[in-house]
Each structure stands twice: as structure tokens, then as C-alpha cells.
């Protein structure tokens, strides 16, 4: 075996330039494959990490679209979910570790003295919102269950909001800020978190109790689609209207400071967290069964709510990136096949050129099989060497891409193993025909070949 390898090496060394040029096709092909795999891997790893940053075992419960006289409204337009549903899920579903109601927020102006900003997102929830959303309160404390039941004017703010309202860098905890026209006390500061999947800054964020959102900020009756609070800066509200009212009407500030007289318990959605990511399916079944019972839905009738989990989203996103990767991979594989044809071409030339050598080897006792093996080993060595060079080139290439473009790349052992296997296969497949041709030569004719 060592002898065969040695013979093949000697034969390849006799024509170094040609051997290197022959390898080039394989080198480029394998390098392309490796680069594609590493960039694709990096992309899907980034998607996976940003999903798990959002909470990979989170389940969303939403009410379904209202259908009135055949006209369907947007999903969530129905108001079938209540805060009591959320409490029931929390208590009765063993696979659910945390659940929080959510009321959709509106654009809110945050003001403190001369400073103001508009937070990118105003989130709401019960005390569980920090657990479900994977938020950590860095400074101060999260709001309490009592705050939630009292619709207290307290909030927790993110770093970006804190930086806008407290440019001197002082701790915001215990300070008072205005959200629209309502005075809130800042209870805590959220720990920094990266951008989410949509590229939004997750630190540009205010979290308030859902009851506060329901009753003080999102002043809407049933659905959260109409906003009340944000109209308060118009001139008309600040100066008296020309028509004389019998009683002085409340201005916007007064309205915001008083609770709405009618209090609906309905919420836009409920976010639940399963105890672990493999319990997500079980948790979804438990939630569905519980809500059907609570909403008195007859067997066979349609659910009045929707269940989603993040793993569906993860699967959708990773399948998109996997599709792109495999498309690019196919292109790279085509270039590998071209490289293989190049190997076959050169090996055929080499067999023709070395016809007399083959005849001589046969004359001194080589069996047809030995000749076949020798040429196969030669093309195998060419392809393997090309593969190894290609792996090195591909690694270098993806490092350059990540350095220059800042794309995430992830070296993959599977891709490297696959490349070695593919280049060996190419060596055998495309080397076989030339080797077989060589072994079929008649020694007498081969010796006389000019």
C-alpha cells in the first residue's frame, strides 16, 4: 500500500505544474463549498440565537379575527381573551411556567423636564412579563403584582430610553417621568439586550403593567386599535374651545389622570412560557384544552383563539436561510463537477502520454489491476490534496468575508468532513475511466506506442 502511494507520488511529482493546475478545479470547488457552508451556518446560528434571545419556548395566544356578516377583521380583533384566562393558564397548566397578558401599546411620548423621547416599543404585562420576555432588571426592581392589580403608574425602562431622559447618567430608579400626560415612577432599569429579529433596538423600551396600559395609556374600549392619549398635544386641547360648555370639560391631562369608569378585562394576547423547550407542544395542548373549556366552545366548533410558538418562527426563518445556503451549495457543487471533469481530462492525457510506461510496467509483471489501482490512487491523491488546499482556502475566504463584511461565519466540522468525502469520491469517480483505459492496454502495443 505504501509502495502504491509512493509510486503515485513519484508520478505526480514528475509533473508538478500540471498536477497543481489539475488540482485547481477541485481547490476552487471545495473552497466555494466551504465558504458557502460557513456563511450559511453563521447566518442560521445568528437566527437561532436571536430567536432564543426572544425566548425560544414562548407560546403566543391571540384571539382570532372577528367575522361579522362575512367580513373578516385583522387577527386579534376579537376580544375573547381576558386577564382571567391568563391567570387560569398560569394556575392550571403544569407545562407552563409563566404567563402574562399583553395589551398593545400606542406611540407614547416620554418626557422628563427638558428631555423627551418616543420609545420604540411600549410593552405591557403582569409580573411574569420579565420572565417570559427574558428581561433582567439591572437597577431597581420590577413592578409587583400589587402594582398590576392597582393599575399603578409605574414603569420599567430600557437603556436607550434612560439615556435619552437621563443624559447625565444618573440612576433613573425612583425618578418620575411622564408618559404622554401621565406621571409614572420608574421602578427599574432593564439590562441591555441586542437587536431583535426585525432589527429593532430592544433597549428602546418601556414596560408598564398591562392594567395600566389598558386603563391609562391605550384608552380604547374593546380593541386596542384606537389611541386616546397621544392627541393631547394639539392646541385645541390646551386652549378653551370657542363653544361654551355647560360644565367645564376635562382637559387631556385630567382625563389621563382619572381611571376609565368602565373597566374591561380583555387583553390583546397572552404570552406563555413553557417549562422547557421540549414541553412546548404539551403546553400548547394544555392551553388549548383549558381555553376551550373556559370559553365554552362545543366539541367540533372552531377555536376562538390562535396558538403560535417561536419554534414555528425559528423553523420558517432557518428554512429560508437553509434554502439560500443549499442553492449556493448547488452552484458550488457544479463547479466541483467541472473540477472533476478537469481531473478526468488530465488523467486521460496522462494515460496516453505514459502508454509506454504502462506497457513497461505490464512487461515487468504488473497485472491489469495493479495499473488500475495505480492510476486511481493518483487521481485520488490529486483530489484529496486539492480538497485539503480547498478547505484551507475556503476557511481563509470566509475569515476574510467575516472580517471585511462583518458577516457571521461558523466553521463546520461537517462541511470539512463532507468536502474530504466529496473530493475523494470525485477522485475515484472521475479517475476510474482513465485508470480503466490504462489497465485495458495491451502491453505489446503499449510498448511500441510512439
Amino acid at each position: 500500500m505504501i509502495q502504491i502511494l509512493n509510486t503515485a507520488l513519484v508520478a505526480l511529482k514528475r509533473n508538478v505544474t500540471r498536477s497543481l493546475l489539475t488540482m485547481l478545479g477541485i481547490v476552487i470547488g471545495i473552497a466555494a463549498v466551504i465558504t458557502m457552508m460557513e456563511i450559511g451556518n453563521g447566518a442560521s446560528r445568528q437566527i437561532a440565537s436571536s430567536i432564543s434571545n426572544m425566548g425560544s419556548n414562548v407560546i403566543m395566544v391571540r384571539s382570532v379575527a372577528v367575522r361579522r356578516a362575512g367580513v373578516a377583521s385583522a387577527a386579534g380583533s376579537g376580544v375573547t381573551l381576558t386577564g382571567a384566562d391568563c391567570d387560569a393558564i398560569r394556575e392550571n397548566c403544569p407545562s407552563v411556567s409563566a404567563a402574562t397578558p399583553k395589551v398593545r401599546g400606542t406611540a407614547v411620548q416620554a418626557i422628563r423636564g427638558p428631555y423627551n423621547c418616543q420609545p420604540g416599543r411600549v410593552d405591557s404585562g403582569s409580573v411574569d412579563v420579565f420572565d417570559v420576555g427574558e428581561w433582567t432588571v439591572e437597577d431597581g426592581a420590577p413592578f409587583t403584582a400589587r402594582d398590576v392589580s392597582a393599575s399603578a403608574t409605574v414603569c420599567v425602562i430600557g437603556k436607550t430610553v434612560a439615556a435619552a431622559l437621563f443624559p447625565d447618567g444618573a440612576s433613573p430608579v425612583g425618578e418620575r417621568i411622564r408618559l404622554n400626560n401621565t406621571i409614572f415612577t420608574v421602578r427599574g432599569l432593564l439590562k441591555e439586550k441586542g437587536a431583535n429579529l426585525m432589527g429593532e433596538d430592544q433597549n428602546d423600551m418601556v414596560i408598564v403593567p398591562w392594567t395600566t396600559m389598558r386603563n391609562r395609556l391605550a384608552r380604547s374600549g374593546g380593541t386596542a386599535s384606537t389611541a386616546g392619549g397621544s392627541a393631547s398635544h394639539s392646541r385645541g386641547d390646551r386652549y378653551a374651545a370657542s363653544s361654551v360648555a355647560l360644565y367645564p370639560s376635562r382637559d387631556a391631562t385630567q382625563t389621563a389622570n382619572y381611571l376609565m369608569p368602565i373597566r374591561f378585562d380583555n387583553v390583546d394576547s397572552i404570552q406563555c412560557k413553557a417549562v422547557s423547550s421540549d414541553k412546548v407542544d404539551a403546553a400548547m395542548e394544555e392551553i388549548a384544552a383549558l381555553l376551550r373549556a373556559r370559553h365554552r366552545i362545543a366539541p367540533g366548533a372552531e377555536d376562538d383563539f390562535d396558538l403560535h410558538n417561536m419554534s414555528e418562527m425559528l423553523a420558517a426563518l432557518t428554512s429560508t436561510s437553509a434554502l439560500m445556503t443549499s442553492l449556493l451549495l448547488i452552484v458550488a457543487l457544479i463547479s466541483l463537477v467541472v473540477g472533476g471533469v478537469g481531473i478526468m481530462n488530465i488523467m486521460l492525457v496522462s494515460v496516453t502520454e505514459r502508454t509506454r510506461e504502462i506497457g513497461l510496467r505490464m512487461a515487468v509483471g504488473a497485472r491489469a489491476r495493479s495499473i488500475l489501482v495505480q492510476f486511481l490512487v493518483e487521481s485520488l491523491l490529486l483530489c484529496l490534496a486539492g480538497g485539503i488546499l480547498g478547505i484551507a482556502a475556503g476557511r481563509a475566504c470566509s475569515e476574510v468575508v467575516s472580517a471585511v463584511k462583518g458577516w457571521p461565519v461558523a466553521p463546520s466540522a461537517a462541511a470539512i468532513a463532507m468536502s474530504v468525502a466529496v473530493s475523494a469520491t470525485i477522485g475515484v469517480v472521475f479517475g476510474f475511466y482513465p485508470a480503466w483505459r490504462a489497465s485495458r492496454l495491451n502491453p505489446i502495443d503499449a510498448l511500441r506506442y510512439e
Binding site: 513519484v10 514528475r14 510506461e357 510496467r361 512487461a363 509483471g365 505489446i444
Partner: protein, 226 residues
């Protein structure tokens, strides 16, 4: 018992188009162990075909061929390859050395095909060096064929044919590409090998001068021995 015993050997080439060309038409001959024989004939007489069959490069179409008492006229290609590796040495008119390969490596090459009869590499190298030295090439072991003269190349080829300790050496027009001075050198070398080592040698030639150096001449004409 003769080393080679051929009875009524025939060889017919089947050309495409159904044309049969009889090249050997019933050759009978014997070659004793330790003989030095010239196989003479004009080109086209069938002497090369006869030598290819005697040297197991080709299989006969008919007749019997006993080599060292064993019937070898119906062997498979692989069996013939093994016989060539074990018992035959070949010397060619055009040397057929591996280009860009040292004389020593050229001599060692046939040993790659000695299935199951390998010695330690050091012993093989030792023997190859000994053969090259015996043929007067001590200082040329690392030279490639391009750096050697015709006579030196042919001596490397002879060393290569001897590396497997053959019982019989076939030389196909070994002096065809050499000048008259080197021709004499090579033929003297054959005589010496025959005398000192007892190797049976068959030289194929169309040159009558070569016959002066052999003990016996077999004339082939039109596919028969005359």
C-alpha cells in the same frame, strides 16, 4: 529437460473486418537452460510475435508451450503477468526507462510487482546498487535517463531486467539504437552474464553480426523456424 519447449505453436491475429492474419504457422523449438540464443529473421517474419509468446506477453492461438516442464499455453493474463514478474527479464530496443527518474529507481521499479515475495527495502536497494555497479554504472545511480548515453541507458535497462533474478532474459533488438562500439559492449555483456550467472538469454535481431556472439541461432522466416 529444456527450459522452453514449443510444439507446433501458431498465432493468428484477427483483424477487424473478419480478416485473419496467420503470423506463426506451427513453430517448434527447444531452448536449454543456460543457452544463449539469437532469434533471427527479417522484419515481418514473426520473430517478435514468437518472442512475445515465449516471454508471456502474449498468448498463443494454438500448439503447446512448456516452460520448465509446465504447460503454459492456456494461462490467463494475470497468471502470465505473475510469471513475467517472477521469472523473466525484458530488454527493449528503445530502453523504455522512466523519464525524470533516477537510474536506481528505474532498476527498482519491477520489484513493485513482486506480490508476496518482497524483501526489506534496504536489501532491494543494495541489490539494485550491486547490479548497477556490476554493469559499470557506480557513479551514475542518481542520473536520469536524459543524463545518460545510449549505451549507459541500455545498461540501466539490463540491470532493471536482472533485478528480479530471472531465469531467462529476452532482448528485443537490444542494439538497434546503438552505435557499433556500444553494440559490441552490450553483446559482450550478455555473453558475460550468460557465462558467469548462467542466465538463459534470447536475443531477437535482424542483424547477422549479433549471431557471432551467440551460441546458437534460430532462423525464423514467414512464421516458421527454418
Amino acid at each position: 529437460m529444456p527450459l522452453i519447449e514449443v510444439r507446433n505453436l501458431t498465432k493468428t491475429y484477427h483483424l477487424p473486418g473478419g480478416l485473419d492474419v496467420p503470423v506463426l504457422k506451427g513453430v517448434s523449438l527447444e531452448i536449454e537452460k543456460g543457452d544463449l540464443v539469437a532469434l533471427m529473421g527479417a522484419s515481418g517474419s514473426g520473430k517478435s510475435t514468437l518472442m512475445n509468446i515465449l516471454g508471456f506477453l502474449d498468448a498463443p492461438s494454438g500448439g503447446s508451450y512448456r516452460f520448465d516442464g509446465r504447460d503454459v499455453s492456456r494461462l490467463s493474463a494475470d497468471e502470465r503477468a505473475d510469471l513475467r514478474a517472477a521469472r523473466i527479464g525484458w530488454v527493449f530496443q528503445s530502453f523504455n526507462l522512466l523519464a525524470r527518474t533516477s537510474a536506481l529507481q528505474n532498476v527498482l521499479m519491477p520489484l513493485e510487482y513482486h506480490r508476496g515475495r518482497r524483501e526489506p527495502r534496504a536489501r532491494e536497494v543494495e541489490r539494485a546498487k550491486g547490479l548497477l555497479a556490476m554493469l559499470g554504472l557506480e557513479g551514475r545511480m542518481d542520473h536520469t535517463p536524459a543524463q545518460l548515453s545510449g549505451g549507459q541507458q541500455q545498461r540501466v535497462a539490463i540491470a532493471r531486467s536482472l533485478v528480479n533474478d530471472p531465469e531467462i532474459l529476452f532482448a528485443d533488438e537490444p542494439t538497434g539504437n546503438l552505435d557499433s562500439k556500444t553494440t559490441v559492449e552490450i553483446l559482450e555483456l550478455f555473453r558475460r552474464l550468460n557465462a558467469e550467472k548462467g542466465i538463459t538469454i534470447v536475443v531477437v535481431t535482424h542483424d547477422a553480426e549479433v549471431c557471432d556472439y551467440t551460441r546458437r541461432t534460430i532462423h525464423v522466416r514467414d512464421g516458421v523456424v527454418v
